[in-house]
């Protein structure tokens, strides 16, 4: 065993506990304590993963990274713990902006901007649209409660813990001390995409090496579109005297 495992376990338990206290369960008594506990757990995780790159010259980049990552993670926690769905959606938007910032910080311009266009610009706006349509008269109590809060918090925290463990490389190499300092060697492919003419390289990769995946994804979306049209058509009966100009 190694020294990272107990800290990951402690942080996971803390995270589960904190999330459980923060989730909307009909009482707000423990929210402050929950926030502190969650923050402590997140700090432990951050401290563990900051061991990945201990070089001191990169402190400015580290500062930017941890600011962006902090915004992303805290906004994500707020997304699940706010009882007002409108606020949850806004926090989700902030989390997406943080993710896009992380992508930009790594030089993946297209991914960063596409995250904003697709998720923040289209999907989340649709969420807000539905939220506005669904509750014009205020919120119902049963919508503002978290169902199965304990299990939800626990499973979320366990997933985060396992992810951190795998990022630390413990599954491959249990001995932390002998682990190489920089575990992420940039593969050739990635540097090629990140070069100048970034979008052109990305497009070339997508439409040559990953062509099948792109086509399958496109077909899936087309099927969803056809399904949506079919469902909408079944509901809408033709009315001859109606207002439709179509």
């Amino acid at each position: 065993m190694n020294e990272a495992l107990p800290s990951v376990a402690v942080a996971t338990v803390l995270l589960a506990l904190g999330l459980w206290m923060m989730l909307p369960r009909g009482t707000t008594t423990w929210r402050g304590v929950g926030a502190l506990t969650t923050l402590a757990a997140l700090c432990i995780f951050a401290w563990l993963s900051s061991h990945l790159d201990p070089s001191e010259e990169a402190w400015l980049g580290d500062a930017v990274f941890f600011t962006l990552a902090g915004v992303t993670v805290i906004a994500a926690v707020c997304t699940v713990t706010f009882s007002n769905p409108g606020y949850s959606a806004i926090w989700f938007g902030l989390s997406l902006l943080g993710t896009a910032g992380l992508f930009l910080f790594q030089g993946a311009q297209f991914l960063g901007v596409a995250t904003i266009v697709v998720y923040a610009g289209a999907i989340l706006v649709t969420f807000l649209f539905v939220l506005m349509l669904a509750q014009p008269k205020g919120e119902s109590a049963y919508d503002r409660l978290s169902w199965g809060a304990g299990l939800a918090a626990l499973s979320g925290a366990v997933v985060v813990g396992i992810l951190v463990l795998s990022i630390l490389g413990i599954f491959q190499n249990p001995d932390v001390a002998s682990r190489p300092r920089a575990p992420f060697e940039l593969p050739e492919l990635k540097t090629e995409i990140l070069a100048d003419q970034h979008v052109a390289h990305l497009g070339a990769q997508l439409f040559s090496k990953y062509l099948v995946a792109v086509e399958v994804a496109g077909t899936l979306l087309l099927v969803a579109l056809v399904g949506a049209v079919a469902i909408a058509e079944r509901i809408k009966k033709p009315d001859r005297g109606g207002q439709s100009h179509g």
Binding site: L128, M132, L133, P136, Q197, G242
Partner: protein
């Protein structure tokens, strides 16, 4: 842990100066564009318009050039009233979001070509863009304008007012719908230029001397109409139409917060004008100018380029303002029909035509020949005319307000049964 502050600071100064100049110019421009809009409105409606306010405390009138200052002061000194029934955090957040998104768009928009200034620590001449070399410039513009939707939606939702709410709903539906024709119009240009960088798109048009407006007239039409809708200018100003919704999503706003919304709207129009000029009218290019990658830009050349670009942008803005007083507002179903049943197919037709032309040129290049640039122009105009004719002939009558005679004259038609059927359908 020693940091070379000097090498860190010098490259920082250039963007900071650029941002400061740009912010100042944009805010002033927005104020004076309001004055211009009022002058044009007065001219169209045969009035005098604002012509009194000049230098304060004197009798000098200066054609009313002091009006924006007076307007600004009035906004600042207005009572900042926050109604008790609003969701306060989101109510304050909404104008901030919309203005910062509108300003952030300008980070990738070139205001000219380059300035021949030598700055130690910075390579080459200074590009007239806040963020030069962003490889995804066009998508970035798209992303930031989709963030601006949040300001509208949040303003409408947080105001807790039915008029605001309807305005927010309308605007989110409208902006999502028109993003698609807007994107299709952009895609044609991007395909022809082979790059998402706005600077590259201008350079491509300057090199061939052939603006995209000539080779892609259909794309220009689609993009122009979609950008009117995205900027919520008059034929499409459903989100805030005064006669129906008081003020739409900013009904409950007053003072500086309202001003932030209004400035953001004006900035959206300015962005739309810049994009139209850059994508379709050659940016800073005009025939007779020296162009090419090996031409060193001198000061007079740089200034002429900036002047040409801004003159074109100004012309487009005046066009926007004239359209405002020339066209009545659409109804909402007409707006949606226009987006999905006319603009979307036209945009796809344009994209396919451009793709064919580009592929043809590519094949010619592989064979060793050169495709004449006039082929693109010819194909573009033929496709545009045919598609426009077909759309006008066969598209649904989205602008027709007359009663549908074939429905009224149908043998089994009775108004009461039709109403009952409608009600039944609604209940189902």
């Amino acid at each position: 842990m020693s940091i070379d502050w000097q090498s860190l600071m010098v490259p920082l100064i250039v963007p900071v100066v650029k941002i400061a100049v740009l912010l100042f110019a944009l805010m002033t421009a927005a104020a004076y564009l309001v004055l211009l809009e009022r002058w044009i409105a007065a001219w169209v409606q045969d009035r005098l318009g604002p012509n009194r306010v000049g230098i304060p405390l004197t009798k000098i009138k200066m054609f009313g050039l002091g009006q924006p200052l007076a307007d600004g002061l009035k906004f600042i000194f207005k009572e900042e009233y926050t109604p008790a029934h609003v969701d306060k955090a989101l109510y304050i957040l909404a104008p901030v979001v919309i203005l910062s998104a509108a300003l952030a768009i300008f980070a990738v928009i070139p205001f000219g070509d380059v300035l021949p200034i030598e700055v130690p620590g910075v390579e080459g001449p200074i590009a007239m863009v806040e963020a030069p070399g962003v490889d995804v410039g066009m998508i970035y513009v798209f992303a930031m304008s989709s963030i601006a939707v949040y300001g509208v939606i949040l303003g409408g939702w947080a105001s807790n007012n039915k008029y605001s709410f309807l305005g927010g709903l309308r605007s989110s539906a409208q902006l999502i719908a028109y993003e698609i024709p807007l994107g299709l119009g952009i895609l044609g240009v991007v395909l022809a230029a082979g790059s998402l960088r706005l600077e590259e798109i201008i350079n491509g048009q300057a090199a061939s001397g052939q603006w995209n407006a000539f080779s892609q007239p259909l794309g220009l039409m689609v993009f122009l109409i979609a950008s009117f809708a995205e900027a919520a200018r008059l034929p499409f100003d459903l989100p805030e139409c005064e006669q129906e919704l008081i003020g739409g999503y900013h009904t409950e706003y007053a003072g500086m917060k309202l001003l932030l919304f209004l400035i953001a709207e004006f900035l959206h129009m300015v962005v739309a004008a810049f994009l139209i000029v850059i994508l379709f009218f050659g940016g800073w290019h005009f025939w007779g100018m020296e162009v090419g990658p090996d031409v060193t830009v001198t000061w007079p050349m740089a200034i002429v380029r900036i002047a040409v670009l801004l003159a074109k942008v100004m012309a487009v803005i005046v066009f926007f303002m004239l359209v405002r007083w020339s066209w009545p507002r659409f109804r909402f179903d007409q707006l949606m029909n226009l987006a999905w049943k006319v603009m979307l197919p036209l945009g796809i037709v344009n994209l396919i035509a451009v793709a064919c032309v580009v592929e043809f040129a590519h094949v010619r290049e592989l064979e060793g020949g050169v495709a004449s640039p006039w082929i693109a122009v010819g194909v573009g105009w033929v496709v545009a005319l045919v598609a426009w004719f077909l759309a006008g002939r066969y598209a649904p009558l989205h602008t027709d307000n007359r009663p549908r005679l074939e429905v009224l004259r149908a043998p089994d038609f009775e108004p009461e049964t039709a109403l009952a059927r409608q009600r039944e359908a609604a209940l189902r």
